[in-house]
């Protein structure tokens, strides 16, 4: 395994991103990965909030007050988009596992649907948070 790794490393890398086509499913997949990474990175903050909200009433009310600040709202908006996108993309993978939407044409359509659903959630939540 180690030798194999060494051999693979000797292979030249010439990946020109502009020469690679990105169909809707690829963009959606990158979004799924990026959203997952974002959710992982925000995990400490949410665990901290969860712990603090359970501690006592003063802390709970303070968190509620802090959630009103525009910066925190924007952060939550992004995290909610990331969650929604990850959620919808996950459902798409479940359907693909049972061979629903597996052919090329439908795979692109469901990928677009995942992207659009994510943006719809984004707009609904942004109206809810900022208006």
């Amino acid at each position: 395994m180690y030798l194999l790794n060494k051999q693979l490393k000797k292979r030249p890398k010439n990946l020109n991103l502009r020469s690679v086509k990105f169909p809707m499913s690829a963009i959606m997949s990158v979004g799924h990965r990026a959203a997952g990474l974002l959710l992982f990175l925000s995990l400490p903050y949410f665990i901290y909030l969860f712990q603090l909200s359970m501690a006592n009433e003063t802390e709970f009310m303070q968190i509620k007050a802090e959630l009103q600040s525009p910066v925190i709202k924007l952060f939550f908006l992004i995290i909610i988009w990331a969650f929604a996108h990850h959620f919808f993309a996950g459902i798409r993978y479940f359907l693909l596992d049972v061979d629903i939407g597996i052919d090329k044409k439908w795979a692109q359509k469901t990928a677009a649907l995942v992207m659009i659903s994510g943006f719809i959630i984004f707009f609904i939540v942004s109206i809810f948070l900022f208006l």
């Binding site: 990965r33 959710l39 992982f40 665990i47 712990q51 359970m54 459902i91």
Partner: protein
């Protein structure tokens, strides 16, 4: 489980944990949206209910497993330096284990006190 089936195992875990967390999140979303004002008392009452308390603990364990499979994929794909890769994976696993244990501790104390 044999080495060849390791990928299948990761795939399976990712699906099971994803499904559980999806259901859990929809339930919590419904709880929040159907409550006019979420007060501290209501918040505590939700999470100290035995079923919800257990489900939340389970949620954080599943989150740790799900995040581990996902982050492992990302690190193996983009980190080519063996030392850096090893250190990052170790850090991620420790972080996920400690954070889920810490959350379960909070949930346990909640179920004892209330």
């Amino acid at each position: 489980m044999s080495y060849q089936a390791k990928g299948l195992q990761a795939w399976f875990f990712q699906r099971v944990t994803g499904l559980f967390m999806a259901c859990y999140t929809l339930y919590v979303l419904w709880l929040v949206l159907s409550t006019e004002v979420v007060s501290y008392q209501i918040w505590l009452a939700w999470f100290s209910h035995p079923l919800m308390n257990a489900a939340t603990g389970l949620f954080f364990i599943q989150l740790a497993v799900h995040a581990w499979v996902g982050m492992r994929d990302i690190v193996l794909d983009y980190m080519t330096n063996d030392t850096l890769r090893f250190l990052t994976l170790t850090f991620i696993s420790f972080f996920l284990i400690m954070s889920s244990l810490e959350t379960i501790r909070t949930l346990f104390l909640l179920s004892v006190n209330v």
